[in-house]
Symmetry: C2
Subunit: 233 residues, 2 copies
């Protein structure tokens, strides 16, 4: 006989799996409490033994998706691969995942992040998963920097305010200088912005297929980090 909390863990996983299934088939609005319960042959109130609310279920699903994405991107970089190539794989992997799972991407990255300086939000599993995901990028960029520092704007070019804010983040970037963090942040914001626009269809009223544009942009933003990504055909 399986132990009781083992059974509980199994049911919990089944719930999230069902929610995931509904998400991919019908988008975010399709993953309702009653729908999930129906999928498992349960009555809606039964789910409250596992999640305090519908929102909590969604949050848990988001955290799971973060982790899935993180491990997927990690596995892409397995083996003995040059650091620049790794970043290229990370960027392309993120885009591929986003395009292959638009509903999941929309749920994870289209949902507003919790309040700025709201207390006790650091303990939430979703936040931790997001941090793990963000760390993936920070870590890689810091490695690239320490292997071969790339030219970066001087503090005077950025302005004192920005330099102060960037150096405050220096510890998270393994002690990189403000200018280098600035370029890394550029890489991230441009990558994130591009993928969001492509997935949410904000781009295909000017570019029906954004693959070539994405590739060109990847080359451009990689150059800023001293990488020679594969040049466009």
């Amino acid at each position: 006989m399986v132990s009781r909390d083992r059974r509980r863990a199994a049911t919990l996983a089944e719930i999230k799996a069902a929610a995931r299934r509904l998400l991919v088939s019908g988008g975010t609005p399709a993953v309702g409490l009653r729908a999930v319960a129906r999928e498992l042959g349960l009555t809606p109130p039964a789910l409250y033994r596992y999640f305090p609310s519908h929102d909590a279920l969604i949050s848990a699903l988001i955290a799971d998706l973060y982790d899935e994405l993180t491990t997927a991107l990690l596995s892409l970089q397995a083996g003995d691969i040059e650091l620049g190539e790794r970043l290229y794989l990370l960027a392309n992997g993120l885009r591929d995942w986003a395009l292959a799972h638009p509903a999941e991407f929309g749920l994870v990255f289209g949902t507003a992040v919790p309040d700025p300086e709201d207390g006790e939000h650091e303990a939430t599993p979703g936040h931790q998963a997001a941090m793990r995901f963000g760390g993936l990028f920070k870590e890689l960029v810091a490695q690239i920097w320490h292997q071969q520092p790339f030219p970066h704007p001087a503090d005077e070019e950025l302005g004192t305010v920005l330099v102060e804010q960037l150096t405050a983040e220096s510890e998270h970037f393994h002690g990189m200088p403000a200018g280098a963090i600035y370029l890394s942040l550029n890489y991230w914001t441009r990558l994130y912005g591009l993928i969001c626009m492509e997935v949410f269809g904000q781009l295909h009223w000017v570019l029906p297929d954004a693959a070539a544009y994405f590739e060109a942009q990847l080359f451009e933003i990689g150059q800023a980090l001293g990488l020679d990504c594969p040049a466009p055909e």
Copy 2:
């Protein structure tokens, strides 16, 4: 006695005003059919005399917000202002509007755009309003280009596929070459991406206040278009 369709137009405006009020106070989920009706002292079915569905009401609201934003940005550029300064005002005006009306911005730009090559979507007022808004930017960039062409990547650097796609859009950019359209598109995607990330809180886990970063980015992307935006302090 006011004519009947005048009265009808007034009620229609009141409905959208109430919806707008609910939007700013409680975000997108707060603007429900019943809530709007309550706001006007009507019963929910009465709204069906004015909108075929709740979705239609939301779409009309989006179209209105597009137009409001368009005229607001247009008025910013009124008078005898240099073209580069105009683009700077446009970018900053968009950001200011987004930060001042986060709920509206989320509704307008966070909502997925209608299907790619879906037929008859061109007649929808929301689409037309979006086109007017997009035209604002295209028009200005084309003016800048024709006043003083900026250096742009050659076709060989972009790759044949991308060049083909960009030249297909040439007519919308007053006959600009592919490389120049590419740089203009960069301006737009980076601006849009930055504002989205800031408004949706995707940025303040690394930058508590993104104003300085935005300013620096604006300078950077303006340079690519041959403009000398105000340099950071």
